[in-house]
């Protein structure tokens, strides 16, 4: 599939590139990245999404695009709320997988010798890996109440405070949750997993702010060079995976019912306004709220670990939440399209909302500067803090990248390096590593990922978001 360069970092996949495309594809990339996307066959996934009913403007792909299931990872697509669709395949299995950043007032250089003890304590207090059970034991009715009320439920129970609500996308509670649309199976899977990290690419990382690129944004976010911060990456665990599986299954016959064809079964979709579409939305919102709660509970135990290791209170350490972003979801948002404000179901699959200044829904502390965005890189190199910008709204409905994107398969990564070697190498570079299963660590080796620096440079060059700070890892906790 051929693309045409239409901007410094923008490539167009013409509407006629594949049968049934209703809009063109737009890929934010540089030369090597677009070539890789072509070779990998991921443009077919961009084209497939463009065939879905009610798609507006284009089928977008962010600079960390890679092959996914149904949607490409890094895919953004908005569908008209009246005559468009909502797709469980467009959200993915890990509903509201996302990232948050916790700040501290500690200078990393002065506490480096305590990082191994901190990582050990985090590993003790945050359940991780496959089969990790959470410390909270909720009945089904308690969990139903929790997924309707999100982070505010946890704050009422004594976990965290009001600032944690304010500094979270959607204030940690998306409206429209209906636990009756969630299967018993999802509740069974979710019951003992709240506050657990999971496995795969999920992590808790203790990082140092390496470099500030944007003083105004860094000041608004409370970041300074040399600062110790904590990045948390996890999602909705088995609860969300089950919601996704349930609705992918039940929507198998739905496209035929509403008179549209799918190029890929994994793109299962229903009209936003149909009973099937509304049911999925109500269940997906429960899973979105579960994920915010999950990261919030992990935050609680992270704070306790800091208190224990540094012998200071949470408030004395200023362990405040900077922000929390979702990178898998379908949200109802208003965007201007062709001079008209329209209500759209914006699907971001491995993409982050990136609201510029003055956008509705930003916390008042960030209203003048824009929304914080976190782009985790690999465990050996760097992660980035970005900020949404005005231009972002004219591109892909205020969206940007979400990570580095894989370069090698998990199997391929294990051929290059063993978990034991990788741990030794990272530790020689001053990075403490604690993992649930050391051999699996190799799957997440730095060489398995693209350099996140390239991704954020393209994101900035394309006007999707601006660089604020570069962070480098000091301690890594993996599932």
């Amino acid at each position: 599939m051929q693309t045409k360069k239409i901007g410094d970092y923008t490539y167009e996949l013409a509407q006629g590139a594949a049968e049934g495309m209703r809009v063109p594809g737009i890929i934010y990339a540089d030369e090597p990245l677009i070539k890789k996307a072509q070779d990998e066959g991921v443009l077919t996934q961009v084209a497939n999404v463009a065939t879905l009913p009610g798609i507006v403007k284009a089928s977008f792909a962010m600079p960390d695009i890679h092959l996914g299931y149904g949607f490409a990872v890094g895919g953004v697509a908005a569908f008209d709320a009246k005559d468009g669709v909502i797709s469980p395949g467009g959200v993915g299995f890990d509903i509201n997988c996302g990232v948050r950043l916790l700040k501290t007032n500690l200078e990393a250089a002065s506490v480096k010798e305590k990082i191994p003890a901190l990582m050990h304590e985090l590993s003790r207090s945050i359940p991780k890996g496959v089969g990790g059970k959470g410390r909270l034991r909720l009945s089904e009715s308690e969990l139903a109440e929790a997924v309707v009320n999100g982070v505010s439920w946890a704050v009422k129970k004594g976990y965290g405070g009001a600032d944690d609500i304010e500094h979270c996308e959607e204030e940690g509670t998306l409206e429209g949750a209906n636990p009756e649309k969630v299967s018993n199976r999802a509740f069974q899977r979710g019951a003992n997993q709240l506050g657990t990290l999971g496995a795969g690419n999920h992590f808790v990382e203790v990082q140092e702010v390496d470099r500030i690129f944007n003083d105004a944004a860094a000041e608004a976010f409370g970041l300074f060079e040399g600062q110790l911060v904590v990045m948390i990456h996890s999602g909705s665990r088995g609860f969300g995976h089950q919601v996704a599986s349930d609705y992918l299954k039940s929507m198998g016959q739905v496209p035929a019912k509403y008179g549209f064809d799918l190029p890929d079964r994994q793109l299962a979709a229903a009209p936003v306004a149909s009973p099937e579409g509304k049911a999925y939305y109500a269940a997906m919102v429960c899973a979105m709220n579960y994920a915010w709660l999950n990261r919030h509970i992990i935050t609680h135990f992270t704070r306790l670990s800091f208190e224990y290791v540094f012998r200071k209170s949470i408030s004395a350490l200023d362990l405040d939440l900077l922000y929390d972003v979702a990178h898998n979801g379908a949200k109802l948002e208003k965007h201007e399209v062709g001079g008209q404000v329209r209500e759209l179901s914006v699907h971001r699959k491995g993409a982050t909302r990136s609201f510029g200044p003055q956008m509705e829904g930003l916390p008042k502390t960030y209203k003048d500067i824009g929304q914080p965005v976190f782009i985790p890189g690999d465990m050996g190199r760097a992660s980035f803090v970005l900020v949404g910008c005005e231009e972002s709204e004219t591109q892909a409905f205020s969206s940007t990248a979400h990570g580095a994107g894989r370069l090698l398969s998990r199997k391929g990564a294990k051929k290059i390096v063993s978990g034991v070697e990788l741990k030794a190498r990272l530790e020689a570079n001053g990075i403490t590593v604690v993992a649930g299963h050391i051999p699996s660590l190799a799957e997440e080796a730095p060489e398995a990922y693209k350099d996140v620096q390239e991704v954020v440079d393209i994101a900035e060059g394309a006007g999707l978001s601006l660089k604020v700070a570069k962070l480098h890892p000091l301690g890594v906790l993996k599932g």
């Binding site: 990998e40 890679h66 092959l67 996914g68 299931y69 149904g70 990872v73 395949g89 993915g92 299995f93 890990d94 890996g129 496959v130 089969g131 199976r185 069974q188 899977r189 999971g198 496995a199 795969g200 088995g238 995976h241 089950q242 996704a244 599986s245 992918l248 299954k249 198998g252 016959q253 890929d264 079964r265 994994q266 299962a268 894989r406 370069l407 090698l408 398969s409 998990r410 199997k411 391929g412 649930g436 299963h437 051999p439 699996s440 799957e443 599932g479």
Partner: protein, 135 residues
Amino acid sequence: MDYEVLSHTAETGIKAYGRDLNQAFSNAAKATFWLLTDPNLITPTREIEISLQSSNVRELLVDWLNELLFYFETEGLVFSQFDVRISGASLKASAKGEEFKADKHPIKTQIKATTYHNLEVWSNGQASVQVYFDV
């Protein structure tokens, strides 16, 4: 060969073979638990019965593997032996295994779910099936 692992960038899948669909489905289950842990370390001391009805045999494959993963996640069971009987788009099966113990069964890969991506079921004399997982 009973099964092979298919791996490409962000994807992990399996292809399983058999003299008929029953055996191919059974080998697909073995491959799934091979991805998850080491099946040689699973002592088959417990047996469960599974009965499924799907809209077609391809969907049945996804439902079958998701069912086993559901038992793993909620009941903490890992399996190494399977007896599958397929009739049309329905399945009756028994799965033998034991309770998952973190120190006995090292986890190799977390499997979030079975996908419909490049899902294939071939049955023409011999049988084979192909399925990808979100990991």
